[in-house]
Subunit: 198 residues, 2 copies
Amino acid sequence: MKHSPALAGLIDALRTLPGVGPKSAQRMAFHLLQDGRAGANALAASLTAALAAVRRCSRCRMLTEAELCSICESRRDADLLCVVESPADVVAIESSGSFRGRYFVLMGHLSPLDGIGPEQIGIQELEALLAQPGLRELILATNPTVEGEATAHFLSEVARRHGIAATRIAHGVPIGGELEYVDGGTLAHALAGRQAIS
Amino acid sequence: MKHSPALAGLIDALRTLPGVGPKSAQRMAFHLLQDGRAGANALAASLTAALAAVRRCSRCRMLTEAELCSICESRRDADLLCVVESPADVVAIESSGSFRGRYFVLMGHLSPLDGIGPEQIGIQELEALLAQPGLRELILATNPTVEGEATAHFLSEVARRHGIAATRIAHGVPIGGELEYVDGGTLAHALAGRQAIS
């Protein structure tokens, strides 16, 4: 059946959200207009407010409301810089509590076919950080996908030109995982990256 | 890590959507503020527009932008009235193309513990429809849950008082399903509802 124009427009707009297909979008739209009108008003208001307030950190390109994000503002080890693809990756690494350095958010990965080259992933800002004194190591934490690996390789070359050591995060069997269910590529990485037991 | 206030507000608002947990909400918020700014503006605008324009059909309580919804406006069999819990149920039955009657949308089900009684599911509007001449059968298509069954039972009593026949949609093995994977309650319904092969 055909939805009314305003309802169809809302469903189309909700479908642009990641992970939301036509069925989920319809369910969300009915929920918002049926039981969740207060929530819908709050969503529209907070979306407009966030669009106006949130921008990129001038140093690391993380999403923030200030000139510098809370991580760049806080006292962090200045000798380690971790490059990630998205703000969600920063959140994931921060929640692991295992990193005390700074970040640089590419907001994507190299993808020449989509017109995403070094400019689009902020190579100028990154080179400015690489030129700063005190930086010792560039940790490449892009995703272990074809594009992520290519981006990591490209950035390692850039780091080499600046005389900065570039490292790649380890790939292997996830903690709690069972070898039986791990794919071949991951197992190959796990074997190749084996370390002496101290 | 702590999100900035506008970002945290957006994530909280997105979590009110059905099927969206904290991880999905964060992913949606980052997407909206990162790659999807045009989509985010469209979402905020269409949400505001839909909240202002969409209301309930004065006859069947379906979501609509006009006084009557498109189904009530169209020429439908006036002798059949199908009672469903939500607008999504109307869409599902319409897409099956197997019903030519009219609908009545309860916008919920009886749930005394949540303060949802006959008033809240529109019993007055339904009784007005039951009193109209020409109506022959009330089809109860509420969900096969405890609340849905209780609501169907209550509405069948109401229909009986108006001298209207009340029927319940059939429950049984879904088409394409395998008996092996169907739960016991459904199989019991399928056996009890068996029909002679003509």
